[in-house]
């Protein structure tokens, strides 16, 4: 895809974020910019603070310092619910599906923000609620088809394989029609075939819907293939930022990757 770093409009600007848990620093003075429509990979060894960074972006963790500017609006802290409202969707490193629900129900929860009918209309099945219901079912079916989940649409998610669960979680995030997707290790722990499928889905979402994607990934092959922009973290600090090629020739990055084991 196009080169995100050069000449593109910023989608999200992260400035001087500091995050500590009690005495331990998880993130130290991190700044980077995610550009509109790009795939930005955040890489780094385990414990580098990548997940914490995503958690700051969507308001799960509140940073001690710094700010996030999303689509021109600046925040000192975000709230999970308002992040979603503004169009930030996400998946989690440890799958966080609604385990008591089927595939289609999980994806349907992603439509929540799009639904305008009130609680009363909804409880009584009157007013806008019927028409809305049909519309949103259709949107969900589209996603189900896109991700190839038709045959398991009614299956309880808890009985699905790890790879499929990750796919359903992506579908749920997608259902909210986010402008930016934060994906925490969407490919980790999968077999080769599942990895390829997932990488394809991510690229297609980016290309066809124009969704900006921030992606945490360990698999360097995949990162080099799909991303326009790479941010490298180590011990809570940023040690690299640029195109995949630039980052790969960065001595600090090479040292970090040779020096520290980073199995998942």
């Amino acid at each position: 895809m196009s080169n995100g770093v050069n000449g593109k409009e910023p989608h999200m600007v992260i400035e001087n974020i500091d995050l500590a848990f009690g005495g331990t620093k998880a993130i130290t003075d991190i700044s980077f910019t995610v550009y509109k429509g790009e795939i930005c990979a955040v890489i780094g060894p385990n414990g580098a603070g990548k997940s914490s960074m995503l958690n700051v972006i969507n308001g799960v963790y509140i940073p001690q310092q710094g700010s996030i500017t999303f689509e021109g609006k600046k925040f000192a802290k975000m709230k999970p619910h308002s992040a979603a409202t503004m169009g930030i969707g996400r998946t989690f490193q440890n799958i966080a599906l609604f385990s008591g629900m089927s595939v289609v129900e999980n994806i349907m929860t992603g439509r929540n923000l799009m639904m305008k009918s009130t609680f009363i209309e909804n409880a009584l099945g009157i007013g806008r609620s019927k028409k809305e219901e049909i519309l949103h079912r259709e949107a969900c079916e589209e996603i189900i088809e896109f991700l190839g989940l038709q045959s398991i649409r009614k299956t309880p998610v808890s009985s699905l394989s790890y790879g499929l669960q990750k796919r359903v979680e992506l579908g749920r995030a997608l259902a909210a029609e986010p402008k930016m997707l934060l994906l925490d290790e969407p490919i980790a722990g999968m077999n080769i075939e599942e990895k390829l499928d997932m990488a394809c889905f991510i690229q297609e979402i980016n290309r066809n819907r124009g969704t900006t994607i921030v992606l945490i990934e360990h698999d360097m092959g995949v990162v080099m293939d799909v991303s326009d922009h790479v941010v490298v973290m180590d011990y809570g600090a940023k040690i690299g930022d640029g195109t995949p090629e630039e980052v790969m020739s960065n001595q600090k990055v090479i040292d970090a990757y040779l020096g520290v084991s980073h199995d998942d």
Binding site: N58, V60, K79, P80, H81, A83, A84, T85, G89, R90, F92, A96, L97, F98, S99, G100, M101, E105, M108, T109, G110, N112, L113, M115, S117, F119, N122, A123, G125, S129, E133, R172, A173, A175, A176
Partner: protein, 320 residues
């Protein structure tokens, strides 16, 4: 020795396997529905908010007392019912705003302590607004028994007496549970509710507003608690002892698990049956006054030993 033979004789065709024994079990199960009804309030709050609501009993008393006090002041019962319903809805919204929301990211213990505080606050409010006298309530629920034998004269197995009151309570429970089921399964709010009860973090990440869901759950629970309170009040009359109705709900959720409404129903049936069996068969050989105070808890204890999470209980819910 005498004790043992007494104990064994319970499990014979002279004991609970006789027509009379079966009658005892059925009547017990029916009366247990009243306990299930109390348990449902706990389950709804726990599922959504992850907290054991210490104030459940006082909410029940507050609602029943409000209704009774209004009718005693010559307010038409239907109007009184409507007013109390609105009061309980408002209470739910207020509790969300001033108890749940400020404590959203605090520890579970602080949240629990907040419901303890809420309990004493509501207790004061109930007695301050109304009074602490004993109020009789008659909703006109019939309490005379039905003799099934009259309808099946030749069959000793139908020599069963059922209390109409228990039948009424069972019908209320049936419609409440059916309503809740339809609501949870087939409405968007129900779906959001299930999402919140499953995973707070993921629910927020898809844009489900926790505070709105909490307000709805507390309001709905308040109204259900009111209806359940009315039925209990008809049986016990309204006074401070009405909060003790909740003590009958505890063993039910111990058996059924804090997270399951079907578990609650089954827990109630088990406790009810066990209480009747205890009262009729075990009390005499245990030399038995006062067995009704602890028998339900003993039953629950036995079940906990067998299955610590309750029949339908899920793993411990983790709050983030």
């Amino acid at each position: 020795m005498e004790f043992l033979t007494g104990l064994l004789s319970i499990f014979t065709t002279e004991g609970i396997f006789s027509p009379f024994g079966v009658e005892t079990v059925i009547a017990g199960m029916l009366s247990g529905v009243m306990y299930s009804l109390v348990g449902i309030g706990f389950v709804l709050i726990y599922k959504s908010s992850g907290v054991f609501n210490f104030a459940q009993g006082t909410m029940l008393l507050f609602a029943a007392l409000t209704f009774v006090s209004l009718t005693e002041r010559q307010v038409n019962p239907i109007v009184a019912f409507t007013i109390t319903t609105v009061v309980m809805i408002l209470m739910g919204i207020i509790i969300e705003r001033y108890v749940m929301r400020p404590l959203a990211n605090q520890s579970l213990l602080s949240l629990f302590m907040a419901t303890v505080g809420l309990n004493y606050f509501l207790e004061g409010l109930a007695q301050g607004t109304w009074d602490s006298a004993v109020h009789g309530v008659d909703l006109g629920i019939p309490s005379d028994p039905i003799f099934l034998a009259e309808h099946f004269p030749d069959n000793p197995w139908f020599d069963i007496i059922i209390s109409k009151f228990d039948g009424f309570a069972a019908a209320v429970a049936f419609f409440l549970v059916l309503g809740l089921y339809l609501f949870f399964q087939y409405t968007r709010t129900g779906l959001s509710l299930r999402a919140v009860s499953d995973d707070h973090l993921a629910a927020q990440a898809v844009g489900i507003p926790l505070s709105k869901i909490w307000a709805i759950v507390w309001a709905v629970t308040g109204v259900i608690t009111f209806i359940v309170g009315l039925i209990w009040a008809d049986r016990l009359s309204v006074s401070f002892t009405l909060t003790a109705a909740v003590l009958k709900g505890l063993p039910v959720i111990l058996i059924g698990g804090l997270t399951s409404i079907p578990g609650c129903i089954i827990g109630g049936l088990i406790i009810g049956a066990s209480e009747k069996i205890g009262e009729i068969y075990f009390a005499p050989i245990l030399g038995g006054q006062g067995i009704e105070h602890w028998w339900a808890y003993l039953t629950a204890l036995v079940f906990i030993l067998i299955r610590p999470t309750g029949i339908f209980g899920e793993r411990e819910i983790e709050r983030i």
